[in-house]
């Protein structure tokens, strides 16, 4: 495997390989996907680590994300500034966690952060209501929404504090063997 690419230095590629679940080839392919979103903003040469951030609108328009109801939360969770504007590192990180090779605990951690709309490290009733609205817009009445959220907290809250902590969420994930395959975006 000769070092034919000129985008990254060998050390950079090694670092990417060690910190994500992707191979060299996939990292380069993802770099080109990132660049295709805005060829005029992203240079072809990353050896001197340019500080390039793509705005959320471009990320959210990718075919893998554009129909996902949670695309904004995903971008916010993985971006450094919390607004959804992603550097290449954030971009790789995002797809690495969402790939099929990431372990269950890591995915559960990030899924928890995605569903935690107010970023208080707990999924409270308001967060659940927002999640529900994103998934079933206008289909359920207000009463039904409230009841569903109460039911979720009833079923999943282990330490009885009225909201879901990360441990409660992880315990719930353990009971859902499909989670590893559904929390997965192919790119």
């Amino acid at each position: 495997m000769g070092n034919k690419q000129t985008v990254f230095t060998a050390q950079q590629l090694d670092a990417y390989q060690d910190c994500t679940f992707f191979t060299r080839k996939e990292i380069l392919r993802l770099f080109h996907r990132y660049r295709d979103l805005a060829p005029q903003l992203v240079p072809l040469d990353y050896t001197n680590q340019p500080d390039v951030k793509l705005p959320y609108e471009l990320i959210g328009s990718m075919p893998e994300l554009k129909d996902n109801p949670f695309r904004q939360r995903i971008a916010e969770v993985f971006s450094e500034d919390g607004e959804g504007n992603m550097t290449l590192d954030d971009f790789l990180d995002m797809f690495s966690v969402l790939s099929e090779m990431a372990p269950r605990d890591l995915k559960a951690y990030y899924a928890f952060k995605i569903y935690d709309f107010n970023n208080d490290d707990f999924i409270c009733k308001a967060d659940l209501e927002k999640t529900l609205n994103k998934l079933t817009r206008n289909e359920l009445t207000e009463d039904e929404v409230r009841m569903v959220c109460e039911k979720v907290i009833d079923e999943a809250d282990l330490d009885n504090d009225g909201r879901l902590s990360l441990e409660d969420f992880q315990h719930m994930i353990v009971r859902a063997p499909d989670f590893l395959s559904t929390f997965h975006i192919r790119i």
């Binding site: 996902n68 999640t131 079933t136 441990e167 559904t182």
Partner: protein, 675 residues
């Protein structure tokens, strides 16, 4: 350690209002990082990398930790002379790159990567599991093809015996497998049992036996391993009864679906499921009166009775047809096209039964109304499996008892029967796709719009695949190159189903529990499919007399005789006594298997007891968590009230007053606060 990593950074913020300053918190975070780096340095390099990849922090922090860990490791190794460390670093780095390159190259060999991604994106993970199952079955056949070709067919072709073709090639051979193909290496009859004298001598009998044995052994190991892994991930951890389904809101949204229509469809499904689970909660399940319960029981019994009668009827039909064929076989004229075509009667009838009766079963299942859709699916699968396996059982019984006595070169005959079944099954699955999906789609959209677009019925399709693979496994001993046909068949079915799916079907409604169904399918593939085929082949090898005139085992009293003779000859060679010892005291000795079974049973009982103990432990721990939650609430309440008492007395607490959040009664909702 893991817990503190996941809860670490946030938790320290939470404790802000307990009296720690910002600096103290930063110090704690630093300490944690240092501890993490120290722990990572201890690990071997591969495990270290896996851990780094799994750290829940953003990319820059992870890169930071990685560089710290590597410099720490380097400084540890720097006691050695620098040329050695440089060399070892470079060697390990190039080795790692080579390994990564191998992984990338292997991905090239993975076929259908993009197609599977497309299907998963449009139809979701449950439909995708069917196609992944198909791909997995394909691997079995490719492996079988390779070893059969290399170890049996190639030597035979190189050292070809005189093959006399009784008849020229006519088109019908492709369907029936007789005539031109009769004496070729395609079937058992085309092999002979000579010892090929090229140095070293290659014993065809032993090669045939050991190749088959090795293949079945490896298949069995692979199946057991997949079954155990799948069972562990999908059933064991699911032990606690999940009452209701509202938790599904958070766990089951399929992120991999990228098609807009499919996303909308999934949203509708989720809505329907949530409404169902809500309505279950609202109306307590009505206590059924005695008459209603009796009616239910009567319905169940009736539907089972009808299904069993139907299955028995089909088996009887096949049995009588087979008996009829035996009679006509005795007067078989190889040149007569009509008799040759009449051999297709049995496969056509069998495939027709396999196509039509499952539809009847699904109609019958509407008679007994079960409220639980999962039980419905299981019962449906059970009935279909019973039907298919009993028909195969009748066929195998016929092949093992009637055929060896009435046909010369009976193994080739059995191979040809299996070949016919495989081909006709494929043709009928083409028809099934056409009528089941294409026409149904047209009826559903144009003629009777209320029926709607058909759903992709995963269970029926998977059972068809399992049936096809059972036939292939049965046929391998009698027709070593049958995996070629099976490979082509599965390959074409993949594309057929994919096209049919995209043109005709919609996403199935009950899309949950795909993972559990996967375990059930693998279990069905192991038993009765693989176990049945294996016992059939084992019975043939152990007890049946091979035909006198053709095949590698001609002249022996049973095929296993070849191995026995070989063990005897090996005993004469000095220094190889141990092979003979193993053969007589381990393989042929019943006591050994008895002891082995006893040990396995004892181990199983022991492990079961351990599992029971762990269940009890989980229950206790869960209660403990609930209690600790109450303790935490109580303690924080007490802290709040204590601090409230302290503040009016003016005792200075060592913290920056501007960062002390004001405690409100509703502290739980404002917890934690920004600093």
């Amino acid at each position: 350690m893991r817990r503190s990593i996941y809860a670490g950074h946030g938790t320290w913020r939470n404790f802000g209002n307990l009296g720690l300053t910002e600096d103290e918190i930063e110090e704690e975070v630093e300490n944690e990082t240092v501890q993490l780096v120290r722990e990572l340095v201890e690990l071997p390099s591969r495990a270290c990398r896996q851990r780094i990849r799994g750290l829940p922090m953003n990319f820059n922090e992870r890169r930071n930790i990685r560089s710290q860990v590597f410099s720490a490791k380097l400084s540890k190794k720097s006691r050695l002379p620098t040329c050695c460390t440089d060399f070892s670093e470079q060697a390990s780095r190039s080795f790692r790159r080579f390994g990564a390159g191998l992984v990338t190259a292997r991905r090239f060999l993975v076929i259908w990567q993009n197609t599977l991604k497309e299907i998963g994106g449009t139809f979701g993970t449950s439909v995708l599991s069917y196609f992944q199952f198909l791909k997995w079955l394909l691997m079995f056949n490719v492996f079988s093809l390779l070893i059969n070709f290399c170890f049996i067919t190639l030597p035979q072709i190189i050292h070809a015996p005189n093959i006399t073709h009784a008849t020229g090639f006519r088109g019908l051979e492709l369907l029936t497998g007789v005539g031109y193909f009769n004496q070729t290496v395609f079937f058992y009859g085309g092999y002979d049992g000579e010892v090929i004298e090229t140095p070293p001598p290659y014993n065809m009998q032993l090669a045939y036996f050991f190749t088959m044995a090795a293949y079945f052994l490896l298949c069995g190991i692979s199946l057991i391993y997949s079954m155990a892994k799948s069972f562990q991930t999908n059933f064991v951890l699911h032990s606690a009864s999940v009452s209701g389904g509202a938790w599904r809101l958070l766990c089951s949204w399929d992120f991999s679906v990228v098609n807009e229509k499919a996303v909308q469809h999934n949203k509708n499904n989720l809505c329907v499921q949530l409404k169902e689970s809500l309505s279950e909660r609202i109306q307590r399940r009505a206590v059924l009166s005695l008459s209603e319960r009796m009616e239910n029981v009567a319905r169940h019994l009736l539907s089972w009775l009808i299904s069993v009668l139907l299955a028995v009827g089909c088996c009887a039909a096949v049995y009588f047809l087979l008996q009829d064929q035996v009679v006509s076989n005795i007067s078989q004229d190889p040149d007569n096209l009509v008799t040759e075509a009449s051999t297709l009667a049995v496969p056509v009838v069998v495939s027709l039964i396999n196509l039509v009766v499952p539809l009847l079963f699904s109609l019958i299942s509407r008679v007994d109304q079960r409220s639980n859709p999962r039980t419905k699916i299981y019962i449906n699968i059970l009935r279909n499996v019973l039907l298919k396996m009993s028909i195969l059982g009748i066929l195998c019984h016929h092949w093992m008892t009637d055929v060896p006595t009435s046909v010369s070169c009976w193994e080739s005959y059995v191979g040809q029967s299996v070949y016919r079944l495989v081909i006709v099954d494929f043709i009928f699955s083409l028809f099934g796709s056409f009528f089941g999906e294409f026409l149904r789609n047209i009826i559903g959209t144009k003629l009777i719009p209320s029926l709607g677009v058909p759903e992709f019925d995963i269970a029926t399709n998977v059972l068809d695949l399992i049936n096809a693979q059972t036939l292939a496994w049965i046929g391998i001993y009698f027709s070593p190159l049958l995996p070629v046909i099976q490979f082509i068949k599965l390959f074409l079915i993949f594309y057929l189903k994919k096209v049919s799916l995209s043109m005709n079907c919609q996403v199935p409604r009950q899309s949950g529990r795909a993972a559990q169904m996967q375990t059930v399918y693998i279990a069905l593939l192991f038993f009765p499919s693989y176990v049945g085929a294996l016992s059939l082949v084992a019975y043939t090898v152990w007890s049946l007399k091979p035909s006198e005139l053709c095949g590698p085992f001609q002249g022996l009293s049973r095929p296993f005789q070849a191995v026995q003779d070989w063990a005897d000859t090996v005993q004469a060679i000095p220094g190889s006594q141990w092979i003979s010892w193993i053969f007589y005291n381990v393989i042929k000795n019943e006591l050994f298997f008895y002891l082995l079974t006893l040990i396995v049973l004892v181990l199983t009982y022991f492990i079961w007891q351990v599992a029971q103990g762990r269940k009890q432990l989980i229950r206790t721990l869960r209660e403990q968590i609930a209690n600790e939650g109450k303790d935490k609430a109580f303690l924080l309440n007490k802290l709040q009230s204590t601090q409230k008492q302290r503040r009016p007395s003016g005792i200075s607490i060592s913290q920056d007053v501007s960062t002390v959040p004001s405690f409100t009664q509703n502290w739980m909702n404002t917890f934690p606060l920004d600093m």
